[in-house]
């Protein structure tokens, strides 16, 4: 059952790709959209049946030369298959209306991208994993580059993405190849039973960690993410941000917790540390970002950081303990929740982009009356992303905090120092997330339009709204009834589930109860009671329109509104030392007198500091090396032949000496 569903999901995706290449253009977006959604739905079913206890393994020796393809589905992989499928359903339905103008190849690549993301968590050998990984990288690169003809930045973003993702691939390849060589086989079963020296295990873990973390957008390997996600078409951004980055987390969990079977505590402290750093750095950049999709991209870095804090804590507590189960459950639930709200947010951002032609929050506003459905849907996503009740992000962050807080007595000095700091970091990132999404929603959608694009906005077509609505429904389900998915998630680890209960979630092993339904219900009840009381006691009910308070200076124009930049200014000042914003004031006096100002130009920019400090020197160094290497190539054919000759003889000499 599990296997046939999974194979059907892959088959539907591949068939859709072929169909997209042949059907006429007016039908194409419908075919790819619904095909992708269908493949995604089958993926959800396959993942769900895996979590319900179904197992499946397949061995296809003839598909790949030498190694063959080996697939298997276990609960850990099943979760990620289901999440990818769910995101694909929403993005597919959305693409029916959104991707009508896209080219043939771009549309045909979409289902293939989904198929590759379904393949990765089901891979059961190193070579299968790497093939799926590379397929995923290439298809996503094609999709990122979809709009390269319209905007120059797309090309640059694609270049960054291509380089970073392939460096990551090299790291994973090296790590896993080393692992397989040490284990004497490349099937995951053989790797699990391998006995490697501690040093070799460290090398494997750190290499794969670097590779997978770069895919997950973890600081300092995140630089591609805030570039590539905004430039891709929005449904692709959703797939990348809500499904693809998860696979980085999957890789870390699979290699570290499963194949290597845990490890020394310092591994997991490293994971926890980079996670905490990413959470803080990501949300800080998001808080001061004015590009809506870039903001969402940085928020992905933040959320993946939080997930890694959970994974790191789980590894730190060691397999088998109740706290580890709780931390891992929290991390995986956060992956699921993040997938839900980030899909919704990126799709809504795409809807805004379609309607207004801009992603710049400083030019948006006033969409509340022009795009009512998109506004409500974005509001739901923002509530979930800011980890406030009754959103779904709150539930998983609560679980994560519980796992960290109960750690004290058991975890020694390292834990006693790490856990309070981790709680502080999570809290600060949660607070900044609230500020970020209040900014995104309040400035982007409320008040009056700040630009002409926002003024002439119209609501998106029903298929796009349906895609967003599906994502919102998933978020609502996850927020109010997390008990519906939690038993499945706890199947990842052997032993008792970390969380039990239907209405009120109860933690096992430690004290702690929370009931999302009760919180939401009592809020609704309180609002209803207040409305009733107001009805009862207020004597005049008809609302009267009135002018805004304008200090008596006449009606206010949209230019007087607070913008996203001004909203983030206090935060920018508070975190001045971390963000290092650049501003530039340029005063031009009139020609006659230096004292009369003709024009003042003010420019402010907040560059990504890590990119600025870490990558630019490296790139400059590479450029210098490249330039000096130019001397070697002066155009003489003899010279080039001589290089070959030297290399050959050199190799022979080395061989002779070593023998």
């Amino acid at each position: 059952m599990t296997g046939s569903l999974f194979v059907a999901a892959l088959a539907v995706c591949v068939v859709t790709t072929v169909a997209a290449l042949v059907v006429p253009s007016w039908l194409r977006s419908a075919v790819t959209g619904w095909g992708t959604a269908g493949g995604g739905a089958l993926g959800v079913a396959a993942g769900a049946s895996t979590l319900a206890g179904g197992r499946w393994a397949a061995w296809l020796p003839e598909v790949l030369p030498l190694a063959g393809v080996r697939l298997s589905l276990d609960p850990l992989g099943g979760v990620f298959v289901a999440v990818t499928g769910g995101v694909a359903v929403c993005a597919g339905i959305y693409a029916v209306g959104y991707a009508r103008e896209s080219g043939r190849v771009v549309q045909a690549t979409l289902p293939l991208f989904v198929a590759s993301m379904l393949l990765v968590p089901a891979a059961a050998t190193v070579s299968t994993l790497l093939v799926g990984w590379e397929l995923m990288a290439l298809t996503s690169l094609l999709l990122v580059l979809a709009e390269h003809a319209h905007r120059a930045e797309v090309g640059r973003a694609g270049l960054w993405y291509a380089v970073m993702t392939h460096l990551g691939f090299v790291a994973i390849l090296a790590g896993l190849a080393f692992f397989a060589a040490g284990a004497g086989g490349e099937a995951f079963d053989q790797l699990r039973g391998a006995t490697l020296s501690p040093a070799a295990r460290n090398v494997v873990f750190l290499a794969t960690l670097a590779g997978f973390a770069s895919k997950a957008g973890i600081v300092p390997l995140h630089v591609w993410l805030p570039r590539a996600h905004p430039e891709a078409p929005s449904h692709v951004s959703a797939l990348m941000s809500a499904a693809m980055v998860n696979l980085g987390v999957y890789g870390i969990a699979r290699v570290g917790l499963d194949l290597l079977g845990g490890g020394p505590q310092w591994w997991w402290l490293v994971v926890l540390g980079v996670g905490a750093l990413s959470a803080l750095f990501g949300i800080l950049q998001a808080a001061v970002s004015t590009d809506l999709k870039r903001l969402l991209g940085y928020s992905t870095t933040e959320n993946m950081g939080l997930v890694l804090v959970g994974v790191g804590a789980a590894g730190f507590f060691g397999p088998g303990s109740a706290l580890a189960a709780l931390a891992l459950t929290a991390a995986v639930l956060h992956v699921v929740n993040h997938a839900g709200f980030k899909t919704l947010l990126f799709l809504s951002a795409g809807s805004v982009l379609r309607a207004t032609g801009t992603r710049d929050l400083d030019a948006l506003g006033g969409l509340r009356s022009r795009m009512p459905y998109t506004t409500v849907l974005f509001a739901i996503g923002a509530l979930c992303a800011s980890a406030l009740p009754p959103g779904n992000g709150f539930v998983s962050e609560w679980l994560l905090l519980q796992s960290l807080i109960h750690a004290l007595p058991s975890s020694g000095v390292a834990g006693a120092i790490t856990m309070p700091l981790a709680v502080g970091v999570i809290a600060l990132s949660a607070g900044l997330a609230v500020a970020t999404f209040v900014k995104a929603f309040g400035v982007g959608f409320l008040a009056r339009p700040r630009g002409s694009g926002a003024e002439s906005a119209t609501e998106s077509p029903p298929s796009m709204l349906a895609g967003m609505g599906t994502a919102a429904a998933c978020c609502a389900l996850l927020a109010l009834a997390p008990a519906a998915v939690l038993p499945g998630l706890s199947a990842i680890l052997p032993g008792a589930p970390a969380v039990s209960g239907q209405v009120a979630l109860r933690l096992n092993g430690v004290l702690g109860t929370i009931s999302p339904v009760l919180i939401a219900g009592s809020l609704v009840l309180a609002v209803a009671a207040l409305l009733a009381v107001l009805r009862l006691i207020s004597t005049r009910r008809v609302r009267r329109a009135a002018r805004l308070w304008d200090c008596g200076a006449g009606p206010m124009s949209a230019r007087m509104e607070y913008t996203a930049t001004s909203f983030a200014e206090p935060l920018q000042r508070v975190f001045d030392d971390v963000l290092a914003p650049e501003s530039d004031v340029d005063v031009t006096p009139v020609r006659e007198s230096a004292y009369l100002v003709e024009r003042v130009r003010f420019q402010a920019r907040i560059p990504d500091r890590i990119e600025h400090r870490l990558y630019e020197p490296v790139l400059a160094g590479l450029k210098a090396v490249g330039r000096s290497a130019r001397v070697l190539a002066n155009g003489s054919v003899h010279r080039y032949l001589a290089y070959g000759f030297y290399a050959l003889t050199g190799a022979l000499i080395v061989l002779a000496v070593l023998r």
Binding site: V413, A416, I417, P420, L421, V574, D577
Partner: protein, 215 residues
């Protein structure tokens, strides 16, 4: 009850040290230092009372009188004559220094664990507190510009060392304590003379201006 009182004294000792970094007002810093001296004295008295040693109690009272009475008195006099009321521009801003203290506290805890494990008792378990104050004092010395803040930083370190001594060995000999205290007193007097001279020479006690003596 003994543990409770000791912990309270240690908590006050630590808090006073941290608050020194928070306040810019030099007069308030001197008050905080006096408060810390009081906490130190109380800590020693509690230790003495627990061991039933009258001598230790008397030493505690003496330490308290010196740290909470005489030294703050001298500093206040220096403060009044200097006419400088605020630590205007510390080299590291206040919010960041407070976060640094958080990290220092964690570091102190990690470092002093082996020491605590040697002889676990309520007294030795408070050693991380003393170590934190030592690091805070050092940090004050590094980052604060005014000569008076520097003196306080130095005295914080001295308080911390005294506290460590009492907490780990349940009392240093009176002679040693007296000798150390006299050293400190001497240092304060020297610094006071120095500040007076600096003010005469430069019109302020910003220690960075000493750089001008370089060439």
């Amino acid at each position: 009850m003994y543990v409770q009182a000791l912990n309270l004294a240690c908590g006050a000792f630590l808090l006073a040290g941290v608050l020194v970094l928070w306040r810019r007002d030099l007069a308030a810093i001197v008050w905080l230092f006096a408060f810390q001296g009081l906490a130190l004295g109380a800590m020693v008295v509690v230790l003495g009372a627990d061991q039933g040693s009258v001598e230790l109690v008397l030493v505690g009272i003496g330490v308290g009188a010196l740290r909470a009475g005489l030294l703050p008195y001298l500093m206040r006099r220096a403060l009044v004559s200097s006419g400088e009321a605020r630590e205007t521009q510390p080299l590291v801003n206040v919010a960041t220094s407070l976060l640094v203290v958080a990290v220092l506290a964690m570091l102190a805890y990690a470092v002093s664990q082996p020491l605590v494990r040697l002889a676990p008792s309520p007294a030795t378990q408070a050693v991380p507190v003393a170590l934190t104050v030592l690091l805070v004092g050092f940090f004050v010395l590094v980052t604060r510009r005014r000569a008076l803040s520097q003196v306080v930083g130095f005295l914080l370190m001295d308080n911390a060392i005294t506290a460590t001594a009492f907490l780990t060995t349940s009392g240093v000999p009176l002679v040693v304590e007296l000798g150390v205290s006299l050293d400190v007193l001497l240092a304060v007097l020297v610094l006071q003379v120095l500040t007076t001279r600096m003010r005469a020479a430069f019109g302020g006690t910003d220690l960075d201006e000493l750089r001008e003596l370089h060439d």
